[in-house]
Symmetry: C2
Subunit: 275 residues, 2 copies
């Protein structure tokens, strides 16, 4: 068997086309939609991601500013800026880029982002609302996983879904999104005993841990659908997923890295800005 | 095998003793701690529970008022009262009792409870904070399950925990509490296919669905620890759990109903008022 590749580029292009249209209408109506990305790091991978996001925003007609507070910014500096941007009527979306200065957790400061502008679902209130079925922006990566599964008509109701990774930005919100779609959901993590025994129960397996090729064919039930959220840098400057490509010999479908979840994530983030 | 009964009355008594001491100190210092329970229903079981909670509060030295808005209260009425109580310096804890008037979900109005007074963890922000590891009150029932497991030294790290029920007040917050304790957590619900196949993977099985004796010996792995959150009224005026008592022949330990999770829930709720 060779797994069907669940590419995300076409879906992302369709989402971006819709966003371009909406942003154009807003621009014609007086003001282009505006996203502000707050950064507080000198991490190079982060800077690269922010540049690519700003470029993607520009292409769909969204103005994008980067507010760089520098790696010495305090929690007070960051929350003050997030609060000001939340109150600024000329700003539609606010995103706080990680990593943050040492010792500072995203959830400690992201509460200062107005949920109505929290386009990457970073505020704990957004996660809580998501969990109880109230309107809220989900973290774009988690939303992208479900959007990709929908794109390929993967049936989630009653399916056994296993999420590897319990982060506040992917694993936990994704668990709620999958539960909301009537999947039976298991969350695994670094302390899970016999990971392969758990993951091989999955009809739908999502890897979101950030460890290159952690998921091997032994972790996957024959015919499972596998979604790879990992974007681990390789020595040659490329990207590797959390899923060993050999899994394609066992799974019925597998998202590529790059070109799977990533482009959909970016497109959904931009969609949240114009929504 | 006959399962060890994991009774909650002793633990509850110890918690109440501590609360009595703290409430007495507060009373001596000028003002007794005060809990206000907001109700908007003429449901009899709810009224019984509120009376028993008020009585329990009185016994530990907590003043408890019931604000009965009646079954015709609107969302606006309820949020206005919750907001006023949140701002009232003479009130330490605010609880909104369910059921609410027809068509109104708890999460639609519970956002009006100040998280610092949200002693039953009803505000979606409390759930979101819980999920990301920020300080927050957990719903007392979910916290009681973990407290009982701790009382009997059940090891959660690396254990496979299965929660049956995905409610915002028990199943979902409990999943986060168990994840936080390094369990591998699965959430099942009414749409789960082959429930017994999933539940029988559990080292720790928690039933929180509100269906009398749904969990039978066929659902339980030999030696599993089983926690029964169900409190279903029986025709003769008693209480029945979600777990068939015959499970005691398979499980290594089982919480009784009544006398298991219930008393610990009440004690933790009162503890949250004085904390």
């Amino acid at each position: 068997m060779t797994a069907q590749p669940l590419g995300g580029r076409e879906l992302a292009a369709r989402i971006r086309a819709r966003v371009t249209e909406l942003a154009g209408a807003r621009r014609a109506g007086g003001r282009a939609p505006r996203l502000v990305i707050v950064t507080a790091t000198d991490d190079e991978a982060s800077a690269w991601y922010v540049r690519s996001l700003a470029s993607a925003a520009g292409k769909v007609g969204i103005d994008c500013d980067v507010a760089d507070l520098g790696p010495l910014a305090t929690a007070g500096d960051i929350t003050a800026r997030l609060t000001a941007l939340s109150q600024d009527d000329a700003v539609d979306g606010v995103m706080l880029q990680t990593p943050l200065p040492a010792g500072l957790a995203l959830a400690e400061v992201s509460g200062a982002i107005d949920p109505a502008k929290d386009v990457d679902g970073a505020n704990p209130l957004s996660l809580g609302r998501l969990a109880v079925g109230r309107p809220a922006y989900a973290p774009a990566t988690a939303a992208a996983v479900v959007a990709l599964l929908d794109e390929y008509a993967v049936d989630l109701a009653g399916a056994r879904a296993v999420v590897v990774g319990r982060s506040a930005v992917v694993g936990k919100p994704l668990a709620h999104l999958l539960l909301d779609r009537d999947a039976t959901v298991t969350v695994c993590h670094s302390r899970t005993r016999d990971l392969a025994a758990v993951t091989s129960t999955a009809d739908v397996l999502v890897a979101a841990v950030g460890r290159t090729h952690l998921i091997t064919p032994e972790h996957v039930r024959a015919g499972a659908v596998v979604v790879d959220v990992g974007t681990n840098p390789t020595p040659d400057g490329g990207l590797a997923g959390d899923v060993d490509p050999a899994v394609a010999s066992v799974a019925s479908a597998l998202t590529p890295v790059p070109g799977g979840v990533g482009p959909v994530t970016t497109a959904l983030l931009l969609q949240n800005v114009v929504d």
